[in-house]
Amino acid sequence: MLKAKNKTGLVFFPAFDWAIDPTHPEREERLLYTKDQVFEEGIMDIEGIIEYKPLKVTRNEINRAHFCVPDIESVTTNSHFISAGGAKAIAQKFAQGEIDKGFALVRPPGHHAMRVVHGGRGFCNINIEAVMIEYLRKEYGYRKIAIVDTDCHHGDGTQDVYWHDPDVLFISLHQDGRTLYPGSGFTDELGGPNACGYTLNIPLPPNTSEEGYLYTIENCVLPVLEEFKPDIIVNSAGQDNHYTDPITNMNFTAQGYAKLTTLLNPDIAVLEGGYSIEAALPYVNAGIILAMAGIDYSKVKEPDYSPEKLKESADTMKYIKNVCEKVLAVWDSRNDLKKKIYGNDPIFKTKRNIMYDTDGIYERQFQHITNCDKCGGALKIDSESDRGWKITGIHAPVNVCEKCLLQAEKWYETSNSEINYFHDNKNDRFERKKH
């Protein structure tokens, strides 16, 4: 009889009654055939695989990761509370030692949601991984966290939330931003001044297949993880690198995803995108679950799977090897990057503009971050959108040092935007004032 080598927890929340709109890729039908396949395979009955009901996250659990403008209610629906709650349920069972591994198969996704949320970006409103990770850090004291984002789109939201945090290593593998939304995720995006080198982007060329993708995991991602020595590895498990995905241009497969999961060996996986709902998702999800549980997945293949047709070209392989080398060189020189790129001001200032494709919003940001060698630094974000909101969000990370916390408090006292947020993750203090 089948038995899981790793006790694996699953939250399956397909939200069969929720859609962004009826014909949107993020619609009721998205995980229907995945459910059919997973249930027909009898996966939930395998000894050592346990299905859990999602939890619902609290408002403050969202506040740890986001400044929601003008408030949480305006930018979320119940589906976001439950989707993030699915990831939280897995994190809780994992942290309590009830399971060895866990997979939150939930929707809607979250990896394009940044720290400031004016609305939906890339189908995402709340960053479900970030909410989960802040929960793990605050409630269970996890310190060093690695996120490996294997969605086909650059995980720009997660990158933004952890841009300044040297305790959270963020690695994103994705189709090159010159050819796909959101158009970012280049090798020179390396993290903020206090966390330089702790954001790594691996842009892969269109048509990357099993060979190139798995090469990147083995030769670029695994060596970095080896050195970083995280307490926990989280995989943002998007499934849109698949050769049948309608909105991307890659050649990855169910076998590839399962092997990737075996190689990466994540503690927790959280579903992100993936919109080939019949030809890919049923097989990819079954493959990932079996790989996490340590069960044979050699026969989990798409009905039309043909490795010959999807063979990596020599040019693509050469290109990929080159990208990997570049990324490794950055990682190796991470201790010298700060001075070289950012200098040594006591407070660093940056400006940026952000597009919200899903809700059609345009945001302008002005950021202040303290220069600190002890913590991720105090962060102040002045943000305004073309919807008319002007806010100031002040964030102190869970590992904030006393000096930076004082600076954060000082900023809050003097800030006088329309809405002013003070989010101190160390003390779980969430305040706001209006002007």
């Binding site: 399956f12 929340f13 619609r27 009721e28 039908e29 059919d36 395979e41 009955d45 439950i82 044979d296």
Partner: protein
């Protein structure tokens, strides 16, 4: 008048009912190697001096299938499966001959690979040579399209009579569960068929012409003649009989817990507003996953004869039983001895019970009264903890829609009904510990037989419609129809309802008082590109378990 018989592991109970009132009851030891004889002995004693034409209905609950599985007295079965992409079907190997053949369907029932008829023909010949007589045919995703199983049956039917097909078992998607359940039906068929023939002949001899029904694991009945095709469904009908027997004592407007406290174990079940909570997706038998719908029950090792000992200066009770209470000739102290010592049970040998309690009290340096109280409290606490966990588990079952997450039914039991030998003495301890009103069920020793007698027929229908493929199926009803592309959820619901009514009537239901419950009712727009290519509709309806007089 109605006859109800519950053949249990130790005793066979029988009642003769007239207008819900027990006219006569009987309790005899079960003959383990001849259940049929136990049934007939009970019936003969019940109908003595009764005009057989006055018997309107007989319901039997037997452990025949359970025994066959537990004692591994099953017939040889050849299991043929076709699978396609997914977990290697070799992992699901079961039966005495197991073979994976070519052919595959996908999640919408579309053919991915066709069957190889030549291959199946030669397998059929080989099995015939091996002397195996019962065949189980299962293809992956057959609830979405039964044609491969039907095609295989056609080939096998030239060599075999006893053929069981996966899609007849359930419309629920679960390939390994379907393999196991189909195998189980085939494996217990022979012994069940013998039983069926003997019972039939005896009823003819006794001139009882009214229908004979058999109790299923879900607390409903089906006609004896139909049960021959699905003998697996009669598994665990014993616990179902007890639950049905407790229903008359339950409040119909609130939830209740049913405890059947025996010597070794306590069986727990739950009623939601008077209706048993059902495990819709099937239960495990001896750790084998099946698709047999059953009353959700949990069994824990706590009862009147639980083995009591002192370990690390603490009293523990159960989960094992090491024989009867000392008061009744056993070797080790038990909760029953504590009750005897405290004078709450006026039976058995008081001095021996006292000796048992002393064995526990002395090493702990506490009074015998205190030891006896502690023994009972610990046993009661084990029971309370188990049903609290069970309620929590049911309330925390995974759900797949926002609606079910936010507005799903939450069990909140307001009363506990206790059956079984030590029910009366345990009731007030359980009430004190749980804070929930606890009521011993009257006449509990024959409540199970009465429960069987009064159980109504139950059935389910699952309908799957795919308007892009222009097909609707209710596979367990052998229903298959071409549908127009404008077929709606309402059309599907109406069809499913009609099929359910037809099935219920065949099952012998009282059609005037039929109550339908919707288990699943979903319609998905299938969008390809930016256009709708059709609808994917899933409807599951059931006739809920209940009692005939309601």
């Amino acid at each position: 008048m109605i006859i109800g018989i519950d053949v249990g592991g130790t005793h066979t109970d029988g009642v003769l009912l007239s207008e819900d009132e027990i006219v006569k009851s009987v309790k005899i030891p079960t003959k383990k190697d001849n259940l049929y004889e136990s049934v007939i002995t009970a019936i003969d004693s019940l109908i003595e001096n009764t005009d057989p034409s006055k018997i309107k209905r007989t319901v039997l609950s037997t452990t025949l299938t359970t025994n066959a599985v537990v004692q591994k007295k099953t017939s040889p079965v050849a299991v043929i499966v076709s699978a396609g992409p997914g977990i290697d079907p070799e992992f699901y190997k079961t039966g005495d001959y197991y073979c994976v053949v070519k052919g595959a369907l996908d999640h919408r029932g579309r053919e991915l690979a066709s069957l190889d008829e030549q291959e199946i023909r030669s397998i059929s010949e080989e099995i015939k040579k091996n002397g195996i007589k019962n065949i189980a045919l299962i293809s992956k995703f057959s609830p979405r399209n039964p044609s491969h199983e039907n095609q295989m049956e056609k080939i096998f039917s030239s060599n075999f009579r006893n053929i069981f097909k996966g899609h007849n078992v359930s419309g629920h998607l679960n390939f390994p569960g379907r393999i196991n359940t189909t195998w189980l039906n085939a494996a217990v068929h022979d012994s069940y068929d013998n039983f069926f023939r003997s019972v039939n002949e005896s009823f003819i001899e006794r001139k009882i012409k009214s229908p004979v029904h058999i109790l299923k694991a879900d607390g409903g009945t089906m006609p004896l003649s139909q049960s021959v095709k699905f003998p697996a469904q009669t598994i665990f009908s014993g616990p179902a009989a007890s639950v049905m027997g407790a229903i008359p004592c339950a409040d119909k407007n609130t939830d209740s817990i049913i405890l059947d406290i025996g010597g070794t174990t306590t069986d727990i079940a739950v009623l939601a507003k008077g209706v048993p909570v059902i495990a819709q997706n099937g239960i495990k038998i001896q750790n084998i996953k099946t698709l047999i719908r059953a009353i959700e029950t949990r069994s824990i090792g706590a009862g009147g004869d639980s083995f009591v000992k002192v370990e690390n200066s603490k009293i523990s009770a159960g989960p094992e039983r090491k024989g009867p209470a000392m008061a009744f000739g056993g070797e080790f102290p038990t909760p029953t001895d504590a009750f005897v010592f405290l004078g709450e049970i006026n039976d058995g040998d008081f001095e021996k019970a006292k000796k048992g309690i002393e064995e526990i009290a002395t090493p702990l340096g506490i009074s015998m009264e205190e030891a006896a109280e502690q023994i009972i409290d610990i046993t009661a606490k084990n029971i309370v903890d188990a049903f609290t966990e069970m309620i929590s588990d049911i309330n925390n079952k995974p759900v797949y829609t926002l609606h079910d997450f936010l507005d799903g039914y939450v069990l909140n039991p307001q009363s506990i009904l206790v059956l079984g030998g030590p029910a009366g003495v345990f009731a007030k301890r359980i009430e004190k510990l749980s804070g929930i009103k606890t009521i011993p069920v009257e006449n509990f020793s024959i409540a199970n037989a009465k429960g069987a007698a009064m159980a109504k027929p139950t059935c389910t229908v699952t309908l799957f419609a795919d308007t892009a493929q222009k097909k609707a199926y209710a596979v367990s009803e052998n229903y298959e129809e071409s549908i127009p592309s404008n077929y709606t959820r309402e059309d599907a619901y109406a069809k499913a309802k009609a099929l359910l009514y037809a099935k219920a009537e065949k099952m012998g239901a009282d059609m005037k008082n039929i109550e339908i419950e919707t288990i699943e009712d979903m319609s998905f727009n299938m969008i390809r590109g930016y256009r709708s290519s059709g609808k994917n509709i899933r409807i599951t309806l059931q006739v809920r378990p209940g009692l005939v007089s309601e």
